[in-house]
Symmetry: C2
Subunit: 462 residues, 2 copies
């Protein structure tokens, strides 16, 4: 942090700073969140947070401060530029200059997990329209501001037609507002393969949380210089900036570490707060220093490096280069990088929502789906029929295959006849009767139509 | 298919075959499953299925036959060897010889999706103990049979402690039974980055469905020869073998396509049914042919190839090489590749399951979590308290942050006092009272303890 701040101030960045202590010392003082209430207050007041890598102690119920900060402060956009520095830093991908914009709050990372049968555990993947709109709009606005030409979207909407389908749909909607920027969509598996093999094919890529987590690590790694990258976490009110690498307690304080990751986080911070002149000056001085072969131990290579330096010496070399441009690497220009002010999400008008059925999930240790169907058929009514049973999503009743492997976790779908609606009280009746019949219902999922369109998936094979 | 069968028969494989028509023609005849009932009967009788790439027509509600086959027949293991053929086929990763073993039936690919509020869509990720045991055991047995030294497991269990945690735990349990094989675990984002950059670090990698889908495509692609790879889909009773590439209707029947993908599927099939002599003979003849520079158009490179050939000529070259070994590439040996017969999953004894609370999910368009808490507090009883409200997983009540962005999808946790149990009838009471109060409950998730241990996640920030 010291080296980075020294460079920021030398570049003339206009900053007022408060320092707070978070992480290991706070954890070990008995605070499982790793941050004191007063420190939160400082962050919430200042709204901008430059964070050193911190260590979450293993075991003992310590919560990751990174995750908490993102979620509590609503930092929905994680932005990670991944750039090759060929030939000054070794890489198999000499032409690479892309930015991954990762949704940072929702998806499987909502962390909602339940075990309700002996054999099956569940995690909820939640994808929201505001979440999609905010991240996709951020990606396009960022591309526009940074003069980038293309935004690519990765989803798996051939399988997850509703969740990933929503992300893809919102991407297509918002892309229309940016006709000057090329847009494209890849199925995430093929897209990931292309990214890993031919990263030069991409510019800005926007993704839901899990895909973004995995693929931003892939992209950073294959630049050959994962330790040099910074990342921004942007919210509607607050923002946090950091190195993408984790902490390295073994070398801390020994004048060995490469300050470049945190410095790149700080450059993104300066752009975010409108100090783009200082950001540009520092980034170009840094590129010049890398070009000159003045390298810390982590990227030092006898063939390409000129001088092996410590943290402080590296910082001083960058400061000495302030005002100079790189000669071989491309200089950056942040002339147009004013703070990105995005409109807040506006709630849409509600659709007409109609209850048309319910999925009852049952813990049952029998083997034959037909037997289970017999057990629950007493729940049927004239207007409400058992339409199918699935096990791990695959239809096993009616007309199942004996080869289908079944766990103790069964989903029984009760649906009204087409056009008829269900009431909540009828669901309650189903539950009451199930209890009388000793059927172990562990969870429910209501089935709705929105504006007349069924908003739930069919069973596989249905 | 013709070229592949010609090679199999020339190698002396002992095979009886039935041919069935699946895919495009069947789809377009009006069968949305792409396969006739009689064709299913043949597959289920023969139990072994070698499948050409098929085309699922876009739109029109056609179901992917690939997905249905895997799920209906219980093909839980997808096995994909990814091998570099340097210097005969171009690649950035000259040393690469790994196998990805992907769970093929569960995870998010159960395809269970629901939209229950205007803003939020949900997909269930299901991970089961039998699913984990079967795939992990398959990976170790496969490694043992094929003389491989290490099995690596990728999960994201630092975030998904229960679902991915189960996968990791089962991996650790089963690894103990194979002391002669090295085992290791990587968090999937870091593991993916390592895989994409340094694939030579891996041998066999076992993963849940989604990670396996994405990363097997990455691994196949970076070998430089994605069109050459085959894959096996293994079940307890049946098995399907195929090329990993999709169909290419534009070049079908023109004597242009590379038959190697399907041929590699067929080689895995021969090993699976105990025809390992023929499998070894064909694989070595194929390696020899690749070495000789006899290449189809897709991998032809003026610098390294010697002769550009069509599908039939390539097949004939392989046949001519039957009995020969490669001289530069490493020859394969399948002497020990008898059919892999794994024990069927045995259900474990049930744990003591106790109901200790319920998560009620509410569609509510208000803004303040405190207001929502007031609305639902009448549901509380002496023994059953509202312990928290989360929005997309993050705790917003009590002691929420105003910066946390909230959608219309709220999870309200009602928990008994420590040590007290809840009854199903009390949940029904909660639902009944909610209905009276006009609270829109869209789904429920029961909270259980198994053998006294809470089997649900806390809220983030709780």
């Amino acid at each position: 942090m010291e080296a980075t701040l020294e460079i920021l101030l030398a570049a003339g960045a206009q900053l007022e700073m408060d320092e707070i202590e978070v992480g290991e010392k706070v954890y070990l003082s008995g605070n499982t969140s790793g941050i004191a209430r007063e420190a939160w207050d400082v962050i919430r007041k200042n709204k901008i947070f430059l964070k050193s890598p911190i260590t979450t102690p293993q075991g003992g119920g310590y919560k990751s401060l990174n995750v908490s900060t993102r979620k509590f402060l609503g930092l929905y956009a994680n932005v990670r530029p991944c750039v090759s520095l060929h030939p000054f830093v070794k890489t198999k991908h000499p032409i690479m200059d892309l930015v991954i914009v990762r949704e940072n709050e929702e998806d499987l990372y909502a962390g909602i997990e339940h075990q309700q049968t002996d054999e099956v555990v569940q995690c909820l993947k939640l994808i929201s329209r505001p979440g999609c709109e905010k991240i996709v709009r951020y990606a396009f606005e960022y591309a526009k501001q940074q003069g980038r030409k293309k935004v690519t979207c990765f989803t798996k909407d051939n399988i997850m037609k509703q969740t990933d389908g929503l992300f893809h749909k919102v991407f297509d909607e918002i892309a229309l507002e940016y006709p000057e920027i090329v847009n494209e969509h890849w199925i995430v598996d093929i897209g990931a393969a292309k990214l890993a093999d031919t990263p030069e094919a991409f510019d800005v890529i926007v993704m839901a949380n899990l895909y973004g987590d995995i693929l931003s690590d892939v992209a950073a790694q294959i630049t050959g210089s994962v330790g040099l990258a910074g990342s921004a976490n942007i919210g509607e009110e607050c923002a946090m900036f950091e190195a993408i690498h984790g902490s390295a307690p073994l070398i801390a304080g020994q004048n060995i570490a490469n300050p470049s990751g945190l410095l790149h986080g700080a450059i993104m911070m300066l752009n975010h707060i409108g100090e783009s002149l200082a950001a540009e000056k520092i980034h170009n001085a840094w590129l010049r220093t890398i070009e000159e072969g003045i390298h810390t131990a982590d990227i030092y290579d006898a063939g390409t490096s000129k001088e092996r330096v410590g943290t402080k010496e590296f910082a001083r070399a960058v400061i000495a280069n302030l005002g100079k441009l790189p000669t071989a690497l491309k200089a950056v220009s942040y002339a147009n990088s004013s703070a990105l002010v995005l409109p807040k999400y506006k709630r849409k008008a509600a659709a007409k929502k109609e209850l048309v059925g319910v999925d009852l999930f049952i813990h049952w240790t029998g083997a034959s789906p037909d037997t289970l169907a017999e057990l629950i058929q007493p729940l049927e009514k004239a207007q409400l029929k058992l339409s199918m049973i699935t096990n791990r999503g695959i239809k096993v009743y009616p007309d199942g295959f004996k080869e289908t492997f079944c766990t103790d976790h069964w989903r029984c779908r009760f649906k009204t006849n087409d056009g008829d609606l269900l009431t909540k009280n009828e669901i309650i009746e189903l539950l009451t009767k199930s209890e009388e019949l000793n059927i172990d219902i562990i969870k429910t999922e209501n089935l709705y139509a929105f504006d007349g369109i069924a908003a739930y998936s069919l069973g596989q094979g249905q």
